[in-house]
Symmetry: C2
Subunit: 434 residues, 2 copies
């Protein structure tokens, strides 16, 4: 080793986190559980490239998300003919593009899940990174899609989140048709602006919301009616008792009632009708979802959101493809728990190893390797500690990595040491099974 070598000391890149092995093991456990839940409902996995053509990302109009474009450092002549590419900022647009592009090879209703990294060049803060994982499920169909799917998705999501053991979660569900119906009944045309104001109802004071609505030209009576509606929270029966002003509102109430009613098997805290939920995105047309961590009151954002859309893939294909979807903000959830309630993450060992096999001298290596193969065939994760060093070294290694057992090949057979109580005893490794 030269003493003169040049050192470039690396530092973390803001918004692009990475985890230690013991944290990554928890992340893997989360991914495995979510994937298993999605598959248990018959959803198939797809992955799309990390990039899309910029034109595809902008197909639904100007995007307010911060997009990262990519470009080759050594461009060659003629490369300018290539399409301009950018990293995707969500999985919804790529999913819509995928569905349109492979339309003839897919079976509808098309039920897919997608668990990939997405990128947004926004300012990093708690729960908001520049590179993060989302776990999406969507169902999309040709021409029409049963409201039963709007009810199935929150059932799946509840199961997925509940199994992570992160405390109580609450799905808050509404239906945009209810507010839209009310606005129509009062002859208010600018749905988009009003919706965006209602979307802020949890972040702002009532006075501020009042003022914002009045700034849109609404009368005091209109504001009163809107806020009264937006404050309704409750179970299926509460929703059923809302008075409808017109057909659209009545449809919304019926749909929301049907969704909440079919979720009656969930714990009472797990799901609530909440008419303040409208979602900021314009493409939602009916059911909308948000999700709150009830045991992390200091974080008020939603960790899992989505809704019903009428025609998201419509910009890419001349078909009518309604769908409904929810996205778990996986990295947001992980980051929030990690910062506010790390015990809940259940961080444990630094490796998946069950048994360490130790040899005192290298002549015993073949025996060690063979015993490790036997134990692996018996279902264990086994590593052989190859450095032939001082006796204490392998003990320290085993302790640091929290490996439960050490196995010692002896002249006559094997011994195992249980690290939880220090007990050392002979073991028949052929019979030692997981």
């Amino acid at each position: 080793m030269s003493d003169k070598k040049k050192i470039y000391k690396p530092k973390p890149i803001s918004g692009f986190p990475e985890w230690l092995p013991e944290e990554r093991l928890v992340e893997q456990r989360w991914f495995d559980h979510i994937r298993k839940t999605f598959e248990s409902y018959g959803f198939c996995s797809i992955e799309t490239p990390s990039v899309e053509e910029v034109d595809v990302l902008l197909a639904k109009g100007e995007v307010d998300k911060e997009i990262y474009a990519i470009e080759r450092i050594h461009k060659e002549e003629g490369d300018d003919k290539e399409s301009r590419l950018a990293l995707h900022f969500d999985q919804t647009v790529p999913f819509a593009r995928y569905t349109a592009q492979h339309f003839n090879e897919l079976v509808f209703p098309f039920k897919r899940y997608q668990m990939q990294r997405v990128w947004r060049g926004e300012r990093p803060q708690m729960g908001r990174q520049r590179e993060f994982y989302q776990c999406d499920i969507d169902v999309i169909n040709v021409d029409n899609l049963s409201i039963a799917y709007d009810a199935e998705l929150p059932a799946i999501i509840y199961e997925a989140l509940d199994g992570l053991d992160i405390g109580r979660v609450q799905l808050r569900i509404s239906n945009r048709k209810i507010l839209m119906g009310l606005l129509e009944s009062m002859d208010i045309k600018d749905h988009v602006s009003i919706t965006r104001i209602i979307d802020k109802i949890e972040k702002l004071e009532t006075d501020q919301i009042n003022q914002l609505l009045k700034d849109e030209g609404l009368s005091g009576e209109q504001v009163g009616k809107i806020l009264k509606l937006a404050k309704i929270k409750g179970n299926a029966d509460v929703i059923r008792n809302i008075e409808a002003e017109n057909g659209l509102m009545s449809d919304g109430i019926d749909e929301l009632y049907s969704v909440l009613d079919s979720l009656a098997h969930l714990p009472e805290h797990g799901v609530i009708g909440d008419l303040s939920i409208v979602r900021g995105l314009d493409y939602y047309t009916g059911t909308v979802y948000e999700t709150q961590l009830l045991d992390v009151p200091q974080f008020t954002g939603s960790v899992c959101s989505g809704g019903r859309y009428d025609d998201l893939a419509g910009g890419f294909i001349n078909k009518h493809l309604p769908g409904v979807g929810i996205s778990i903000g996986f990295s947001r959830l992980f980051d929030v728990l990690r910062q506010t309630n790390p015990d809940k993450l259940g961080i444990g060992p630094k490796s998946p190893t069950d048994i360490l096999v130790y040899v005192e001298n290298s002549d015993d290596s073949p025996k060690a390797n063979e015993s490790a193969r036997t134990l692996r065939a018996n279902g264990f994760n086994v590593e052989v500690y190859h450095p032939v060093k001082k006796w204490e070294k392998h003990l320290k290694y085993t302790e640091k990595k929290q490996i439960p057992f050490i196995c010692y090949p002896k002249e006559s057979g094997f011994e195992r040491k249980d690290m939880s109580n220090g007990l050392q005893e002979p073991v028949d490794i052929k019979e030692w099974k997981k």
Copy 2:
């Protein structure tokens, strides 16, 4: 639906492939098997961000890989102070950077695997995409690392590849010290150029290799000696019988013998000593690996390569950190098999669903949902077919997706239909377990 809507018809982006659900299921099976194999040897998972600072990527000198830089489309003032970022082109540099950065929190020998996407802006062709997965395993230690790890890695890789059922694979192993020793014994200084020529030995004719070596100023006798060595192929005993010209060569022979000897439990075709293997990269210092698909002769490239490096993380930390690693070119392997031998991929159903639950009218939905929950608890992947439509529709859907069973809630209990033989019979769903 408006007829006037603007359609942006999406097209595939060259070098950024995506798979249909039935192909993705195979890809998932592959990932699961490789991951399970790596973990069974006690390797832990890490993931690094998709991007690194450009300065980190270039820390080992100018890179000949085509790098993609990323840049926010809407940059703000002051953003120029941010480091220049680029997508990583392999997992070795990020792993070295990670090890240096988290040095004090890791346990050594540090054994990690990493299965992520990497990006290279090269011209796409069979087995070469611009976005692709690699599956890497490496062991890195402080000051010195036992040669036993050089032997363990190919054992793991053989198990990982063999379990994919893609035909016979052959690991071809050499040790750079052997050629280096020979060159030293002949007083030839320019190792790098000679190594790069030997690396082409499989792609070029013997005459061409001869000429290239002579162009480097070598005598006919020297060329003869080098080519004689590079043509040696065989098992541990063949390697042991090579005559060493000096200490370095002798060390290389001993190491390669010890690696091959400890792989004697693998099938004879599975591993071979092959002195034509040198690898193009400069940072390898001892053992080097390549892997060939014996049953896909039309593809001569290596699907899995790596080797021993003395000090890869040394550019990032003032420590001596020798390591050894191999990388499976996952997407390369998948793509080559998909194009040359699709049967070997074993593409099957379009979804993970085991049972479809069908209801004839929506009044039966609660019963359908409840039975689906029971069957899920019994270990099945179950989807409820919600569209209440013509009887034939759900049959066609089940057939297209190759779902093995349909379950029908009846007034008195349930019936199941076995799609493999059409048999329909009553079933006690509580007792129907996977």
